[in-house]
């Protein structure tokens, strides 16, 4: 018992470790988190998969053993006690019971028998040498059965669990007949020692199937690698469905699948949903996840060295990789996932700026959630890797996004996977295209245009009497300088200059001047760009001016974008993939049986009251004694009533 409690404590502590430390993560994540020393130490202890480590299973086995021993050791005595009426109880032991009383009137045996049996008690009669008769009665012996049920249940549940555990795998790995694969190989090339046959009784793994494709194996994590489990059938995904509620939350994930039996070739069609698995050949198939299955994409590539030029069309496949040649250099374009729905919370976090009154009102009102969940449309992520293997990651949204009444194209960039994306938003012209922005960007970066631009800007400043004639040349030079500085590195380059060269107390004023110059010059930049492209100049109104200011911000941000080419997604053909989990667990019903036994056991133990009554019928009196397995107030009351009743009966007799 003490040993068992000790084991339970260790088990509880081990379980806690398993909940605090995320289990079954890829090993590099652990190595990164703990450093080389602790990573190795924790790996030795099996902490990355506590619940399947040898020592954890050993504790479980010990618990089963200890509970079994407990049943074997205490069982027979319990059974004896359950059967026994204790009709051989001596006068002394009867007297010593807490609920015991000597009545001075004798009681008729037949009457006593009726009384006891009428209450559903089973009675055993024992005649004694001194002529008295002891009626030993009891009910509620099932209480003791509860002990058996509950403890056998623990053993049964553990056995069921071990049946579904990976014990055979562990043994296979120890003896070397099974070896997890750690390389990323095509399925067909995975060696035999990492494959498990269809005869394997118990497994749990998963596989991702793109639409129109099939799978006849699943993959199981095992330590640092994985194992391949062969299935007795082939699963083909016809179509994957996602439905959304009107507020953008997912409502349904479902896969239309075709299952083909490998032996008979028979096929059957099914739809599986979350919470509605399909069972085939004892293998349960679950809808576990979903994602992109490799979708054909169409993109427009804008060369950022010559942004004014029309983009070239390129084709690709999400999740695929392809070479890309830009300005004579070789790059590798690695596509990530195509996400058709990007549901984001675009609303302001509601509670921040509300009055108490408003909050009280909100708390009273019954509403559906008002979080502005909104689908902001498809996105593609990709990496552009240069010859040195350096890569940046990009995330481009396809649909225009409206902000403060104007439309933009949004793209994110980051140089490190651990960082959040930095987003740039490029203003869209009246054709919902980024062509105008690219024209502006090209002109901003083209030094040959600066002379024409500064001439126009200076003339305008003179006309508006913003500068004196004496300042004319100096102003003109400033425009040129600010433009070229901006072309080098955007707002950051200007800031850098201020920080390096200008005394702190003057920075603010000079920065204001630069901004004003830029804001004035950008109008002329666009005019020059339009003229160069042979297009009509833009009207001078607030809407177009805002575009130009947004264009400056976008152009500055493009400096950090650090790619030779800007890829605009123009179309796609979605192919989804469904993540299917498959389980064969022969121990399940054993565990359920154990669970049933456990519940019955607990009910019997706690809610069946065992009561024993002894009536010793003497020639000149009666002794009443009662016990119950629980010293509760019910027994006190029962005993009191019994004494009163017997006194009355005896009096009448």
């Amino acid at each position: 018992m003490r040993f068992a409690i000790g084991l339970l404590t260790i088990l509880a502590i081990a379980s806690i470790i398993g909940t605090v430390l995320k289990q079954n993560e890829p090993y590099p994540n652990y190595a990164f988190e703990f450093g080389p020393f602790w990573f190795a130490a924790f790996e030795k202890l099996g902490l990355y998969d506590v619940y399947h480590s040898s020592w954890f299973l050993l504790i479980l086995a010990f618990l089963v053993l200890s509970t079994t021993l407990c049943i074997i050791r205490n069982g027979p005595a319990f059974l004896r006690d359950m059967k026994s009426f204790r009709e051989r109880a001596t006068d002394n032991s009867l007297r010593a019971m807490r609920h015991s009383q000597q009545l001075d009137r004798p009681l008729d045996e037949a009457q006593a028998m009726r009384l006891l049996q009428g209450h559903g008690l089973r009675v055993k009669r024992a005649a004694r040498d001194d002529g008295s008769v002891l009626l030993a009665a009891k009910k509620g012996s099932a209480n003791k059965l509860g002990y058996f049920f509950a403890h056998i249940a623990m053993v049964v549940i553990c056995i069921g669990g071990l049946m579904d555990g990976n014990l055979p795998l562990k043994i296979g790995e120890l003896t070397g007949s099974i070896k997890p694969e750690t390389r990323d190989l095509p399925q067909a090339q995975i060696p035999e020692q990492s494959r498990l046959g269809t005869g394997n009784l118990s497994f749990r793994g998963s596989v991702t199937v793109p639409e129109g494709k099939s799978a006849d194996v699943i993959f199981m994590n095992s330590g640092n690698g994985y194992l391949v489990q062969e299935l007795p059938f082939i699963v083909t995904l016809k179509k994957f469905h996602v439905d959304y509620y009107s507020n953008g939350m997912p409502k349904l994930f479902a896969s239309d699948i075709v299952v083909t039996d490998k032996d008979s070739g028979k096929t059957s069609e099914h739809t599986i949903k979350v919470n509605h698995p399909l069972v085939v050949d004892g293998v349960a198939i679950y809808q576990a996840s979903f994602g992109d299955g490799g979708s054909p994409l169409q993109l427009k590539a804008w060369n950022l060295q010559t942004p004014q030029a029309a983009p070239t069309e390129i084709k690709g496949n999400s999740l695929g990789a392809q070479p890309l040649k830009v300005n004579g250099r070789d790059y590798k374009l690695e596509f990530g996932e195509l996400r058709v729905f990007n549901v984001e919370n675009t609303g302001a976090p509601g509670s921040d700026d509300k009055s108490l009154e408003q909050r009280l009102k909100d708390a009273r009102s019954v509403r559906q959630d008002t979080k502005a969940l909104k689908n902001i449309g498809p996105s593609i992520s990709f990496k552009l890797r240069d010859q040195h293997g350096q890569a940046r990651e990009y995330q481009h949204y396809m649909a225009p996004m409206q902000q403060d009444g104007e439309w933009y194209q949004v793209a994110g960039v980051r140089s490190d996977v651990g960082q959040p994306f930095q987003y740039l938003r490029l203003p869209l012209d009246k054709d919902m295209s980024i062509a105008s922005f690219m024209r502006l960007y090209a002109a901003l970066k083209d030094p040959t245009l600066y002379d024409e631009i500064r001439k126009r800007t200076t003339a305008k400043a003179m006309q508006g009497q913003a500068i004196s004639p004496a300042m004319q040349q100096q102003f003109s030079d400033s425009v040129r300088w600010v433009l070229s500085r901006f072309a080098e590195g955007g707002f950051k380059a200007l800031e850098q200059f201020l920080d390096d060269k200008v005394p702190a107390d003057k920075r603010q004023a000079i920065a204001q001047t630069y901004i004003k110059i830029l804001q004035g010059a950008v109008v002329d930049v666009m005019d020059v760009a339009q003229a160069k492209a042979g297009l009509a100049p833009w009207p001078q109104d607030a809407k177009h001016y805002r575009f130009l200011l947004d264009g400056l911000v976008g152009a500055s941000a493009l400096q950090d974008y650090a790619a030779p080419v800007y890829l605009e997604m123009s179309g796609f053909d979605q192919v989804q993939a469904s993540g299917l989990q498959m389980t064969r667990s022969p121990g399940k019903n054993v565990v359920y049986l154990g669970s049933l036994l456990l519940v019955i056991g607990i009910i019997l133990m706690f809610y069946v009251r065992e009561v024993r009554v002894w009536l010793l019928l003497q020639r000149d009196g009666t002794r009443l004694a009662m016990t119950s397995n629980r010293h509760n107030r019910d027994l006190d009351q029962d005993f009191e009533r019994m004494v009163g009743y017997l006194n009355k009966q005896a009096g009448e007799a």
Partner: protein, 377 residues
């Protein structure tokens, strides 16, 4: 023959008991005639099962016979006022200030706070009247809680047919369930063991939960009704969650009784509280019933997991902590039943048990990740 020993419940039934049973059966039959066509096989089974459960509960605990129909009538009145139109919540006076689910819950919160104050005032001043008022307010709060949950269930269908669902699916709703169940269990033991002074302690834990509900409502707007994500769209939720909260409620109550017991044993408030022995027994009873329901809930959870997650046991943090809670109380019961422990050590253990239980209930959602992630703060 005159019955001297206590008879099993089924042998003691009188006309009133059967009348109550008839009421429940008629109500269930009427519900079935209205909605039977929209129920699947499992939901029909649940209707039958819950009718049996309601009858049994009413037979076992007479107060339930007026409590449940009263809460039901209150929410039927609310439904009547709604008249199939959610906008009425802001127009109808009765809904706006009393009967819409949010108003009901706000009343519940207020009444629980008041009850706590009255219980303490009554216990400290030995005023039976104040304590009786405390118990009355606790009953009233429980009526608002249950009626509010029923009404919220209806409101979810008014938002949209596909949003409709039983309100036990997020942290906000289960906190209300927790308050309701803990209060009801306490009221049962209060009447059975005449331990009204303990209300001061049990209501403290309910008040803490109420405080959380208010913070969650005002600061996080958590009261808004959201539809069910696919993983939760299962009839298992209807039985798994309530069973779990009977367990949590019972464990919370036993811990507060443990606190009272520890104070008494140190001579604090000893003259104002019931004897430590009585509290010891109530504490044991609460843990026993909590253990039974927690076991059932965990098994139901495993069966649900086998349908939803691909295995009856995945060592998900919530599952693992449920196991730890279970082991904790299994050990507690062994110590009491096998080793014969009583009094102080078990009272301390019950108090520590509440910490373990709270972690399993809220801590896992706050600090650990896993499959039970829908109750995030």
């Amino acid at each position: 023959m005159e019955m001297v020993l206590q008879q099993p419940l089924y042998k003691r039934l009188a006309a009133g008991d059967w009348l109550y049973a008839l009421l429940i059966v008629v109500a269930a039959g009427y519900s079935f005639s209205l909605y039977g066509s929209a129920m699947d096989y499992y939901e029909q089974l649940i209707l039958v099962g819950s009718s049996i459960g309601l009858v049994a509960l009413g037979w076992f605990w007479p107060s339930w016979r007026w409590f449940f129909p009263l809460a039901g009538s209150v929410s039927l009145l609310a439904i009547q006022l709604y008249d199939h139109n959610l906008a009425r919540a802001a127009e109808s006076f009765g809904l706006k200030y009393l009967l819409s689910s949010q108003s009901s819950f706000m009343w519940m919160c207020t009444l629980f706070f008041l009850a706590t104050v009255l219980y303490w005032a009554g216990t400290l001043s030995r005023a039976g009247l104040l304590m009786r008022m405390g118990s009355g307010l606790t009953w009233a709060a429980a009526v608002f809680a249950l009626a509010g949950l029923f009404t919220r269930w209806y409101e979810s269908y008014l938002i949209a047919a596909d949003v409709g669902r039983i309100p036990v699916s997020n942290l906000y709703e289960v906190f209300i369930l927790f308050c309701l169940i803990t209060a009801l269990m306490y009221l049962y033991y209060e009447a059975k063991f005449a331990v009204r002074q303990v209300g001061a302690f049990v209501l403290l834990v309910i008040s803490a939960a109420v405080g959380f509900i208010l913070w969650y409502t005002f600061d996080r707007q958590a009261h808004e009704i959201q539809p069910l994500i696919p993983a939760l769209q299962s009839w298992w939720m209807k039985i798994h969650v309530p069973a779990n909260f009977v367990g949590y409620g019972a464990f919370a109550m036993s811990a507060m009784i443990g606190v009272a017991q520890l104070l008494i044993r140190r001579g604090i408030l000893a003259s104002r509280l019931p004897s430590a022995e009585v509290l010891d027994e109530v504490m044991y009873k609460a843990i026993a019933v909590g253990f039974l329901f927690f076991t059932i809930a965990t098994i139901l959870g495993a069966m649900w997991a086998a349908d939803a997650w691909g295995g009856y046991w995945s060592w998900d943090p919530k599952e693992t902590w449920a196991l730890i809670v279970w082991l904790n109380y299994a050990a507690w019961l062994h110590m009491r039943l096998v080793k014969g422990w009583r009094g102080e050590p078990l009272a301390w253990w019950a108090v520590v048990g509440l910490l373990v239980t709270s972690f399993a209930f809220i801590g896992v959602n706050m600090f650990l990740s896993g499959l039970h992630s829908y109750g995030a703060l």
